[in-house]
Symmetry: C2
Subunit: 207 residues, 2 copies
């Protein structure tokens, strides 16, 4: 199992343990059934211990979301790095990484984008993490623009279009009405390929 310190009064790395266990429970049960006390129990500490590391339930959720953003961005970065000088493949693979992340971590993705958290109080953690991820996506698009791949349009607008497609498809597949397709990998592949084709065809220069 993961790091379990059997007898120590002090946990040693409780903050990270809470984030890890919390991530697991969140993906397993959804935001609604996400309980601070249950996370504490899973980490082997009392129900009050988390308050030494997070001001409240929302703060832990924010930390989980922040780590989710970091992981998602890393996955996209890896996808880009694997296809240097191929901006079209970069975008497709980044989108695929996005979808894979969504299928692996539906609960985390949900709170990353404002699900279940109070509508107004989304702290600076979200702002910064989302801004960073967005900036990275814009970079991918810029790569393609410099080689003349895309049509005349601002990189920001193209980015939003690509992001919307990836995000929407991810949610429809991970928690929405298309959830059933997760099992049928062949149909899933065809769907992703078709959506990618529709999006990319619309973004590239016509000729």
């Amino acid at each position: 199992m993961s790091s379990r310190r059997p007898k120590s009064y002090h946990h040693g790395s409780l903050r990270q343990a809470l984030i890890d266990r919390g991530t697991h429970l969140l993906d397993e049960q959804g935001v609604t059934h996400f309980s601070l006390r249950e996370v504490a129990k899973a980490a082997g500490v009392s129900h009050g211990a988390p308050y030494r590391h997070f001001s409240d339930r929302n703060a832990l959720l924010e930390a989980i979301a922040a780590q989710g953003f970091a992981n998602l961005e890393a996955a996209c970065k890896a996808a880009v790095a694997a296809h240097p000088n191929a901006p079209r493949a970069q975008l497709m693979m980044a989108g695929r990484a996005y979808i894979e992340f969504a299928l692996a971590h539906p609960g985390v993705l949900h709170i990353m984008f404002g699900g279940g958290v109070s509508p107004d109080s989304t702290g600076p953690v979200f702002q910064q993490a989302a801004a960073s991820a967005f900036a990275h996506l814009v970079g991918i698009i810029e790569n393609g623009r410099q080689t003349g791949l895309y049509r005349e349009e601002s990189a920001e607008n193209l980015t939003v279009a690509a992001w919307s497609m990836a995000h929407g498809l991810s949610l429809l597949l991970s928690a929405g009405p298309l959830r059933g397709l997760q099992r049928d990998s062949a149909q899933l592949e065809a769907l992703i390929a078709s959506a990618s084709e529709s999006l990319l065809s619309g973004m590239v220069t016509r000729n």
Copy 2:
């Protein structure tokens, strides 16, 4: 205000009142802070009264989601009806209606697509409502296919692409990192127009 029966022991139409008040609170505060007791109080009844009409909290959420699906589908239908024999405009206006619904009812949209509800137990209400909405979207696409508007591709796959784009953009705008753009209607318009252009260009036949 809405129907308020001042002195009657029996409310008369509590079920619908709970759905209405619940919808309002849901959009106002998000799923996490959605409280059955608060809805009951808003409807002017005791905290146990809702259980005469809904088996539990989830059942009320499902009913709210079902009404949301009905409203969304009606809005899309109206958009389609306003542009007969113009399948491209139909799709664009349906997408716009989708986004407007999302901005008006962020909380409802969230639970409509599995947010906050337990991951496995999404009842038949969801299945049927979502299937109906999907069928309607497929119909819009079919309209365009019959006039040769779209490229060679199954209507289902094209529908999923369009749905993903609309859904993703809606969520990014209503509860996600693009929330700030709700205020700037000019930029919002440009964004929607650009995303629509990217999507539709990729769906129509190349020439």
